[in-house]
C-alpha cells in the first residue's frame, strides 16, 4: 500500500502541496481530481522522487520513499505515465517498450505481446518512430511502456489530456483491464466524470490540500463535486 502522510511540497517558490494525506490500497483504482494547479502533478512527481518533499512522508509497503532517488523508487514496482506522455520521439515504438523494461534482465517477448494485445494499433506501428504517432497512440505507448516494467503500482498523470472522447474511453477501458490484472492504479484527472466512474476511492484536491474524499460513487453523488467538477451545478 502507498501511504502519503502530511506531505508538503514546495515547487518553484510556492507551497504547491500542503499537508496532504491519502492512501492507495493495493489492487484499487484511486483517483485524485482537482482543478489545474491544485498540486496533483506535483504529488505524483514527489512520489517518483523527481521533486523532493519539504515535509511529511511517503511510504510504500512500509518503506520510506522520500529520500530515495527516482531510479531506486522505480525498482519498488512504482512507475509513472507522465503528463503529456513523454514518449521518446526518436525511438521506435518497440524501443520505447524496451526502454520501459530497462531494469529487467529477463525475456520481454511475452510482455511485448501483452501490450500489443491491449493496443493492437501499436503493433501495426512497431517500427515507426514514436514522435510520428498520433496523440492517442502516444498515450497508449506511454501506458504500454509503463507496463513493461511489470509495475505493482502505475500512476497516471492526465491520460485523457488532449485526446478525442472515443480514445479517452478506450484508454479508460484499458486502465480497468490493467487493474483487473492486479495492478494498483493512482489516476490524476481533470476529466473528473470519467475518473470517478472507474475509481474505487477518490480524493478531491483544492489548492494543495485534500478537500473531500470518498468512494468514486459517493463523490459522483456529492453536490459540491457535481457543481465544481462535473459541470452539473444548479
Amino acid at each position: 500500500m502507498l501511504k502519503i502522510d502530511n506531505l508538503s511540497v514546495n515547487y518553484g517558490g510556492i507551497k504547491a502541496v500542503r499537508n496532504v494525506s491519502f492512501e492507495v490500497p493495493d489492487g484499487k483504482i484511486v483517483t485524485l481530481i482537482g482543478a489545474n494547479g491544485a498540486g496533483k502533478s506535483t504529488i505524483l512527481r514527489t512520489i517518483t522522487g523527481l521533486v523532493h518533499a519539504a515535509s511529511g512522508s511517503i511510504t510504500y509497503d512500509g518503506e520510506e520513499l522520500t529520500k530515495l532517488p527516482t531510479h531506486t523508487i522505480v525498482t519498488k514496482g512504482i512507475t509513472l505515465v507522465p503528463e503529456g506522455r513523454h514518449v521518446f520521439p526518436d525511438m521506435t515504438v518497440l524501443e520505447n517498450l524496451k526502454i520501459g523494461a530497462y531494469l529487467r534482465k529477463d525475456n520481454l517477448n511475452d510482455d511485448i505481446e501483452w501490450v500489443y494485445s491491449l493496443f493492437p494499433r501499436l503493433k501495426e506501428r512497431n517500427w515507426q518512430q514514436a514522435g510520428t504517432l498520433s496523440g492517442g497512440e502516444q498515450q497508449m505507448l506511454a501506458v504500454g511502456r509503463a507496463l513493461m516494467s511489470r509495475p505493482k503500482l502505475i500512476m497516471m498523470d492526465e491520460p485523457s489530456l488532449g485526446l478525442a472522447p472515443i480514445i479517452v474511453k478506450e484508454i479508460f477501458n484499458i486502465i480497468k483491464e490493467i487493474n483487473k490484472r492486479g495492478v494498483t492504479i493512482l489516476l490524476i484527472e481533470q476529466n473528473a466524470n470519467m475518473a470517478l466512474h472507474i475509481a474505487d476511492l477518490a480524493y478531491v484536491l483544492e489548492t494543495g490540500t485534500i478537500a473531500l474524499h470518498g468512494t468514486g460513487q459517493e463523490l459522483l453523488a456529492n453536490e459540491k463535486v457535481k457543481e465544481l467538477y462535473l459541470g452539473k451545478g444548479k
Binding site: V74, T79, P82, H86, I99, S149
Partner: protein
C-alpha cells in the same frame, strides 16, 4: 600541381580531419547529454599528449598507449565528477563557466608541472614508417587515422543504437525526467559519455601528436576550438555531423596550406563557422532546437 601532389595533400587533410573528428565527437556527445559545451575537452586532449610522453619514457608503445588512454579517461571522468556534477541543477551558464575554469586550470597546471616549453612527442616507430604508393608517400599514421576514425565511429554508432547503455544515452539526451522514471541512472550515463569522449580524445591525441612531434600546455586550445567548430558545423549533438565537420575542416585547412595560404588556414575554420551560423545555425545534421546557450 600534379595529380599525385593533390592526392598527397588530400591524404594529409583526411588524416588531420580524422583526428579532428575523434575530438569533435567528445564535444558533440557531451553536448547531447548535458547540453554543455565542455571547453576543457581540448585540454584533456593536450593532457593526453603529456601522458603519452611520460608513459613512453618507461614503457614500450604497446603498453604506453593503453596507459595513456586509461589516464585520459580517468581525467575526463574526474573532471565531470568534480566540476560539473555538483552543478547539475544550476543554471546552464554556471556549468559552462565551470568548464572554462577547468580549461584554464589544466593549461596552467600543465605549465606549472611541465613548463611552457614544448616537449618532444615520443616516436612510435611503427606509426612513423613511410609507405609509398606510386608517387604518393606518407607515414603509416596518415593512412591509419581516417580508417581508425571510421571504424571507431561505426562501433560507436552500433553501441548507441543497439545496446542498452546506448538506449539509455539516447533517452537521457531527450528527457532527463522520463529517463529516470525508466530506472536509468543519469549519473552513470553521464560518466559513460565522458569515458567515451575522453577515450576518443586520447586516441585522437596519439594520432595528432605523432604527426606534430611536440606538446606544450596550449597545444589543446586551438585544436580544441577547431574541433568544437567541427561539431557545430556538423550540427552539435550529432555524431555523424561531428565526423563530417572534422573531415571538412581537416581537408579545407590542408588544401589552403598547400595552396600557399597557410596564414589563413586557421581563419578558414572560423570563417566557415560564421557562414554556417549565418545560413544554417543548426549545422549540417543538426536538429531544430530553440533551447541553446
Amino acid at each position: 600541381m600534379s595529380i599525385s601532389t593533390i592526392i598527397q595533400h588530400c591524404l594529409t587533410g583526411i588524416s588531420l580531419g580524422g583526428a579532428y573528428a575523434l575530438i569533435a565527437i567528445g564535444y558533440t556527445m557531451v553536448y547531447g547529454i548535458l547540453r554543455l559545451i565542455n571547453f576543457a575537452h581540448g585540454d584533456i586532449f593536450m593532457m593526453a599528449g603529456y601522458f603519452m610522453i611520460f608513459a613512453m619514457a618507461s614503457f614500450p608503445w604497446y603498453i604506453a598507449i593503453p596507459i595513456t588512454l586509461l589516464a585520459t579517461v580517468a581525467l575526463g571522468v574526474v573532471i565531470e565528477k568534480v566540476a560539473y556534477k555538483p552543478l547539475r541543477t544550476a543554471p546552464r551558464m554556471s556549468i559552462m563557466i565551470s568548464a572554462i575554469g577547468v580549461s584554464y586550470l589544466l593549461q596552467n597546471l600543465a605549465t606549472y608541472l611541465f613548463t611552457a616549453l614544448p616537449k618532444g612527442y615520443p616516436e612510435i616507430p611503427v606509426l612513423k614508417k613511410i609507405y609509398q604508393f606510386g608517387d604518393v608517400s606518407a607515414s603509416l599514421v596518415t593512412f591509419i587515422t581516417p580508417v581508425l576514425t571510421i571504424v571507431l565511429v561505426i562501433i560507436l554508432m552500433q553501441l548507441i543504437n543497439h545496446t542498452k547503455m546506448g538506449m539509455a544515452m539516447r533517452a537521457v539526451s531527450k528527457d532527463y525526467d522520463t529517463a529516470q522514471i525508466m530506472g536509468i541512472k543519469i549519473n552513470n550515463v553521464i560518466s559513460y559519455t565522458f569515458v567515451i569522449g575522453s577515450l576518443l580524445a586520447g586516441i585522437g591525441s596519439i594520432l595528432y601528436f605523432t604527426d606534430r612531434m611536440t606538446v606544450y600546455p596550449y597545444s589543446g586550445s586551438l585544436p580544441g576550438l577547431k574541433c568544437f567548430v567541427a561539431a557545430v558545423l556538423g550540427g552539435i549533438g550529432s555524431i555523424p555531423g561531428a565526423v563530417v565537420g572534422g573531415f571538412i575542416l581537416g581537408v579545407g585547412e590542408t588544401i589552403l596550406t598547400a595552396a600557399g595560404y597557410s596564414t589563413f588556414s586557421d581563419a578558414f575554420t572560423f570563417v566557415l563557422l560564421i557562414i554556417m551560423l549565418l545560413f544554417r545555425p543548426t549545422g549540417i545534421f543538426g536538429e531544430k532546437a530553440t533551447d541553446k546557450v
